[in-house]
């Protein structure tokens, strides 16, 4: 049986060579199938299986056997590895090794909307038909660099496009040919959210567009697989072919990790996610994805903080990243999130090991570290039997090291790939690192030799003077040059020595005057011991101070996520927004996230009492039109983008969430921009500072979508670049709607008929509108277009829900009333573009007076935190009563969003979304003191004041640490001042 096994393995070995049928014209056939054995080694078969004094037997590029008792055949070359370790070589499955960089499309002076290719998918950025193996060429230089970092195998791919096609598993052995090096030519399918540089096709122009496109491709591929397409689509065919492969998607940040995992869930795919190194900031959510991760290990350098004015521009969040990011692998590991490491994101492979050692110093378990480099990546690719361990039958890819691999002192001698030896540092190299007492011609110097074995460093001192010196060692010959004591002269002392005994170095010297003499250098043992003890101290965990993560992990984040409370507000002026009007000297009890009681002299057990005498309580402010807390706002790649949703790109880390809370805002509709007539679906959120993007979503809110009219959709202010996209006039806008709704109607009819159809997310969304399952908020300015859209809606038998901006709404209030549409407008904006010439601040008052549900919105990160003031302007402009004015930023937008059963007024049973103001809420002198969402205090003025102090202290501490790092000689990066990216309707 055992013999049979051996025979089988031998046959495998032969087939591995695979070239035995090739003709040979430059000599005779000379294959060698000898064995190689490595004996007396500490053999790490896998991260969890270590055998001491073991033998590893390999042949024909594979592991034949291993263990304490391995019988060694006669035709075996034996290498004694006494005291040394053998590890499986590392595996990087997120590489673009050997792949030619695609060529960038030439620029042009008008946008490109259609695909460049024919016979493929309609979108150039979908390229599943690509295969890394095409255009791949073994790159010996890079292979050598990667091998030196300990890697034996990489999975490479074409890092271009959204769906990037298949990758190939390549062994990094320069010996042999690609016939043996290519271990698998279709090993995984790769994806990202970045467009191909080979095409200028506009769509998708945003992250949410890319996410929608990935979903749509999946639906299209399903339809295509059923044979329903009349034409050939090589992309969809390839996609279907690649479906059974592992799907690896580049996310690049914790937010994107979560977003793309969700996309995967929608199309029944569990992606392997290439993360960003910030997963520790949201580890529970990351864990909940159940995904396996590929984690870059590119830790930021300290900032150069020496110029205090520049230093002031660095934010706490960025300072913390320097301190915390090295702990990311440890946090993942401690939370049992499976992950593999990658060289991706590193400038060069040689940065890998120092960073990994840092991660270990920051708490990463060594076994987990090794697994992340070997068994986990192998498992991701389904190649556990072949790579990532030294099990019998695996490829003979292994490292020979001087000691435990993650010990700082350890030298990696050799990296064997497919049974071929690649020497990094000769095993015979004498380790002369240490302190020596160097004597030359009666003079004594202190010589210290340090650094890596392959790259030694020297320091030569005499008395207190340090002399410039350089050391090198080749084949046991050391050469050392140092400058003479007299620094006014440019001359040198040159030593050379054949090293035989590392305790005692002897050799010849050429003195500055040209005379030759001899030297002797004795190792000073005592100093050396002391030094290694010092090093041990440094290694202990207590020396690494990792600042605690907050939620979100930046200024004003919570150390612990806040919880719902039972709170009794006593003696407030309560703006109910209900029939009760404004109640004086009234108590409000908040319990279980709801408004539990409103009345006089209330009491409640276990409630935190807050004296609100002289203060005002209102429902939280609702902003119907906002673009904060989003990582994208416009998908302008097409004139309709109903398939995209802002829910995909909610940015839970946006500081404007906190600033909005400080202005009393408790519900926000994040709208798509106004770059196209049919925009994207909205996200209605509650600004729960510190929660994940998913938890911000107002789950009970109905579905909504943004439409837009006027100058923005016809690209009037885009200059001469954009003159080709339909529509360029208001006339065209009507036709876009008529066309899309006509198509949506036909689509719905086909779908309902039971006949096969292609699932189209864009048309599905429009069908929802026609079925009154999704509400339109439409960006609008002038009366003609407002009337037009109502007419289109009437023709297709649905209603427009809200006109937003609606600055000429006052001209058509009667028609709006008849249609039943609401209005959400600016208090006083105008004169910023031509179509707002007739915008008047009395708009809200007129609309309100005509019985239209009217709200005041912000469309602006700054204004949204002062919507109470904006509501007050309706009192000035048009004389709206204070109660009705207040409803314009609370109850009325709640009605427009169809969430007024939950929020918008102070009523028993409604969500406890409320604000405690120090003054009349619409007074210019009012400040929000506390903002609650469902009974949880998300903003508290007192906590804010404490946070300011804490931020200063922590920044100071981190700054000091960075200055210390610089003084220690660690690399720093220059400060680049960041600018907050703020979105408006027309942000592209």
């Amino acid at each position: 049986m055992k013999q049979l096994m051996t025979l089988f393995l031998v046959m495998c070995g032969i087939s591995l060579m695979a070239q035995d049928y090739f003709p040979k014209n430059d000599g005779v056939k000379a294959e060698s199938h000898n064995y190689q054995a490595f004996t007396n080694a500490t053999l790490h078969i896998s991260p969890t299986e270590t055998i001491k004094n073991a033998t590893l037997l390999i042949r024909d590029g594979k592991v034949i056997n291993s263990g304490k008792k391995v019988s060694i055949p006669e035709n075996t070359t034996v290498t004694d590895l006494d005291g040394k370790h053998i590890y499986p070589s590392f595996v990087d499955i997120y590489s673009n090794f050997g792949v030619k960089k695609p060529k960038r499309a030439e620029s042009s002076n008008s946008p490109q909307y259609d695909a460049s290719r024919e016979g493929y998918y309609w979108n150039d950025h979908i390229r599943p038909e690509q295969n890394a193996i095409e255009g791949y060429a073994f790159d010996a230089k890079t292979a050598s660099d990667i091998r030196e970092a300990g890697f034996g195998v990489v999975n490479t791919h074409i890092a271009d496009g959204i769906i990037r096609g298949t990758g190939s598993l390549i062994a990094l052995s320069p010996s042999g040919t690609d016939a043996s090096r290519i271990l698998s030519d279709r090993s995984a399918q790769y994806l990202s959210t970045s467009k191909s540089i080979t095409s200028r096709q506009s769509y998708p122009g945003s992250l949410m567009g890319a996410m929608a496109l990935i979903r749509q491709v999946s639906y299209d591929a399903e339809w295509y697989a059923k044979g329903l397409s009349k034409t050939k689509d090589r992309s969809l065919e390839a996609y279907n072919n690649n479906k059974s492969l592992v799907q690896i998607i580049e996310a690049g940040s914790k937010l994107n990790d979560l977003r793309l995992d969700k996309v995967g869930n929608d199309i029944n795919t569990q992606y392997v996610i290439v993360g960003g190194g910030d997963e520790y900031e949201a580890i529970q959510d990351i864990k909940a994805t159940n995904a396996t991760f590929i984690i870059p290990i590119n830790f930021p350098d300290a900032f150069d903080m020496e110029d205090p004015i520049m230093a002031n521009t660095v934010t706490l969040g960025d300072l913390r990243q320097w301190n915390q990011k090295p702990s990311n692998p440890a946090v993942l590991s401690k939370n049992d999130v499976p992950f593999a490491f990658t060289l991706h994101d590193l400038k060069k492979p040689s940065e890998f090991m120092p960073n990994l050692l840092k991660a270990i110093e920051y708490g990463l378990d060594e076994t987990a570290a090794l697994a992340a480099l070997t068994t986990v990546p192998a498992r991701i690719l389904g190649k556990s039997e072949e790579i990532g361990s030294l099990k019998n039958g695996s490829y003979a890819n292994f490292l020979i090291t001087s000691g435990a691999i993650f010990d700082k002192e350890t030298t990696v001698y050799e990296n064997w790939v497919l049974g071929n030896k690649h020497e990094i540092v000769s095993m015979n190299t004498k380790d002369i690192r240490g302190d020596y007492e160097l004597k030359i011609a009666g003079a004594t110097y202190d010589l210290n030799i340090s650094g890596e074995l392959s790259k030694l460093k020297s320091t030569v001192k005499t008395d207190a003077q340090t002399l410039g010196s350089k050391i090198a060692m080749t084949d046991d010959w050391m050469s050392l040059t140092f400058s003479s004591v007299d620094t006014t002269k440019q001359d040198f002392v040159r030593l050379s020595s054949k090293i035989t005994n590392i305790e005692n170095l002897n050799g010849s010297v050429i003195l500055p005057n040209g005379k030759e003499t001899t030297f002797n250098a004795k190792k000073s043992a005592s100093k050396d011991d002391k030094k290694s003890e010092d090093k041990k101290d440094v290694k202990s965990d207590s020396d690494v101070k990792i600042f605690p993560v907050t939620y979100p992990n930046k200024a004003y984040g919570f150390t612990e996520k806040p919880k719902q409370q039972t709170i009794l507000f006593k003696n407030a002026t309560v703006w109910t927004n209900e029939d009760d009007g404004i109640l004086k000297n009234t108590d409000v009890l908040v319990k279980d996230g709801k408004i539990a009681q409103i009345g006089k002299n209330l009491s409640a057990r276990n409630a935190t009492e807050i004296d609100a005498t002289g203060k005002h309580i209102t429902a939280g402010v609702i902003d119907e039109h906002s673009h904060i807390a989003a990582s994208a706002v416009n998908e302008s790649g097409q004139n309709s983008s109903a398939e995209v949703t802002l829910e995909d790109v909610v940015n839970s880390d946006d500081i404007n969430i906190y600033r909005n809370l400080a202005g009393g805002v408790t519900t926000i509709q994040i709208l798509h921009g106004s770059a196209n007539p049919i925009g994207g679906r909205s996200a209605i959120i509650k600004p729960r500072w510190g929660e994940s993007a998913q938890n911000l979503i107002f789950a009970e809110a109905p579905k909504t979508i943004k439409f837009a009219l006027g100058e923005n959709v016809k690209q009037s202010n885009w200059g001469s670049y954009a003159l080709t996209r339909f529509p360029q006039t208001r006339m065209g806008v009507e036709q876009v709607y008529t066309d899309y709704f006509t198509r949506a109607k036909a689509y719905d009819a086909l779908k309902k008929s039971g006949q096969p159809y292609r699932r189209d997310m864009e048309l599905e969304t429009l069908v929802e509108i026609m079925n009154n399952e999704r509400f339109i908020t439409c960006h609008s300015y002038v009366q003609s277009e407002i009337n037009m859209l109502m007419a289109v809606a009437d023709a297709f038998d649905f209603k427009i829900n809200t006109f937003t901006h609606i600055l000429e709404g006052y001209k058509v209030a009667d028609k709006m009333k008849a249609h039943g549409v609401g209005a959400s407008t600016f208090s006083d904006w105008w004169a910023y573009k031509y179509e707002v010439n007739d915008a008047i601040p009395y708009n809200a008052a007129i609309l309100h007076n005509q019985g239209i549900v009217t709200a005041i919105n912000s469309d602006d990160a700054e204004m949204s935190r002062r919507l109470n003031q904006e509501a007050a302007k309706t009192m000035k402009y048009g004389g709206v009563s204070e109660e009705e004015a207040w409803k314009m930023v609370t109850l009325n937008p709640a009605k427009l969003l169809h969430i007024d059963d939950r929020v918008g007024s102070i009523k028993v049973g409604k969500d406890a979304d409320m604000v405690l103001w120090n003054d009349h809420p619409m007074s210019i002198y009012a400040k929000a003191e506390k903002t609650l969402i469902e009974g949880t205090v998300y903003f508290d003025l007192d906590r804010d004041l404490q946070a300011r102090e804490a931020i200063k202290q922590e920044k100071n501490e981190l700054t000091t640490m960075m200055l210390q790092a610089k003084n220690k000689g660690l690399k720093t990066q220059p400060i680049v001042k960041k600018e907050d990216k703020l979105f408006h309707c027309d942000t592209i």
Binding site: I309, M310, T313, T315, L316, G317, K554, A555, I655, N656, Y658, R659, A662, Y810, K811, A813, D814, D828, W829, A831, Y832, K833, Y834, N837, D838, I840, Y842, A845, I846, N849, A861, E862, M863, R865, R866, Q869, A872, K873, M875, K876, Y877, G878, E882, M922, S923, I924, Y925, A926, K927, D944, R948, I951, K955, P974, V976, K977, K978, E979, D980, L982
Partner: protein
């Protein structure tokens, strides 16, 4: 017959106003006017309850409490109301820009680096619909500033009820505007540099260019001035003290450098415009008595670490440090100028005394612009440029003007906007 005539006149007036939009400037004050019973906000920190404000021939003659003989005067009963000096908006685009996005309506940004000879006043459009929308909010005067280049040109100060720019000017060519070099420059991302801001390597060079220009102009002005050099010629006022240098700068380093620059070049009359980080260099500013026209406080903090209310409370911090401050409009959209009173109100919400906050748009601004001898407060001898509001004019709920006067002339509080309001309100009343 008489009635019919009036009717025709009314119709004619209606047609003319709705077709030309602008309001007809008020006619010269012919009779003394007394505003009786209002709370007078003097603009210098004082309040006079139950006041009598009298003005005649366009000038304020007395501001008293209680009993003043008003016989022979037109009396405006204003009990329960408030009277304020006309608000002054500094550093605006009023009359230079009509519609931000329409290039043809933008006359603020001239070509060239050192163009002090470019004068805003001659481009000031008295017919602007944006200008007339200021007045119902109490803004009756404005500094109209050019914007482009390093030295942008020369500003002037106007009152907002005029037939033409000659009528409008209350101080012609009041100051020269200098855009201080930025300490940061943007990474050239198209060359693969990080896109953020990094220290501007050209900073020192750019300052030198300004210094050279100053030196060049001084030398020129000492000589026979031949051949004529228009830009150098335009600098004269800075050196003889008749003009101020408005240095637009926000960051700590820039402000510090700008102050030293002005001292080294013997420019006595300088004003910091912007000053977002002025709170970091209050000692220096106080030492040299440099006033600051701060940015409109309705703006976001500079970065995510900064206190959420930093822009709101900047005025309080500078005021407490003893620095003379006013509010300017700078980078806001042109139309936002009308929110000036609410910017002052916000400064009061975040720490300032209300009457001190009022100074930010009245007496302080007048001092900073060098027009305090005739406007900025309700004091005898000054222009009767003032208004009556139903309530606190710094609060949007109660900033409701009933009457306004510029140089004693009662002005219309109507605008293109109020006309549309009335027209369409009427439409729904009589469908």
């Amino acid at each position: 017959m008489k009635h019919i005539n009036i009717y025709i006149l009314f119709i004619a007036l209606l047609i003319s106003t709705s077709s030309f939009a602008q309001q007809t400037p008020g006619s010269k004050q012919t009779k003394a006017i007394a505003i009786v019973g209002a709370t007078a906000h003097i603009g210098n920190g004082q309040i006079i309850e139950n006041s009598v404000v009298v003005f005649e021939n366009g000038k304020i003659t007395s501001v008293n409490s209680g009993n003043t003989n008003t016989s022979g005067m037109t009396v405006i009963e204003a009990k329960g109301k408030h009277v304020y000096p006309g608000f002054i908006a500094a550093n605006t685009a009023l009359g230079l820009v009509e519609v931000d996005a329409v290039r043809a309506t933008d006359d603020q940004n001239e070509v060239g680096d050192m163009i002090p000879h470019v004068r805003s006043l001659i481009a000031y459009n008295t017919e602007s619909k944006v200008v007339e929308s200021m007045r119902p909010n109490g803004i009756l005067m404005a500094q109209v500033s050019p914007k482009g280049g390093r030295i942008s040109g020369t500003s002037s100060i106007v009152q907002l009820d005029a037939w033409n720019w000659e009528d409008a000017s209350i101080k012609t060519d009041d100051g020269i505007h200098l855009n201080w070099p930025s300490s940061f420059s943007r990474g050239r991302w198209w060359l693969g540099e990080p896109a953020g801001l990094k220290p501007n390597k050209e900073y020192a060079n750019q300052i030198n260019e300004v210094t050279n220009f100053i030196t060049g102009s001084k030398t020129y002005l000492k000589g026979d001035k031949k051949p004529k050099h228009l830009p150098f010629e335009a600098m004269q006022g800075l050196y003889n003290g008749s003009q101020k240098l408005f240095i637009h700068v926000n960051d700590e380093k820039g402000i510090t450098d700008a102050v030293h620059f002005a001292k080294e070049n013997n420019i006595d009359q300088m004003v910091i415009v912007g000053g977002a980080e002025a709170y970091k260099v209050t000692t220096l500013l106080k030492q040299h008595n440099i006033p600051v026209l701060i940015n409109a406080p309705h703006s976001l903090p500079a970065n995510e670490d900064q206190d959420y209310d930093m822009p709101f409370k900047l005025a309080k911090q500078l005021h407490d440090a003893g620095i003379l401050i006013g509010i300017q409009l700078g980078n806001r959209e042109n139309f936002q100028t009308r929110n000036l009173p609410f910017y002052a109100g916000t400064c009061a919400a975040y720490g300032m005394e209300k009457e001190d906050a009022l100074k930010l748009i009245t007496s302080n601004t007048a001092k900073i612009l060098g027009i305090d001898s005739f406007v900025g407060t309700l004091e005898a001898g000054k222009d009767a440029t003032l208004f009556i509001s139903e309530g606190d004019a710094l609060d949007m709920r109660t900033n409701i003007l009933t009457e306004a006067f510029i140089q004693g002339r009662q002005i219309s509080l109507e605008s293109h906007q109020t006309e549309l309001w009335k027209r369409y309100s009427e439409k729904y009343k009589n469908p």
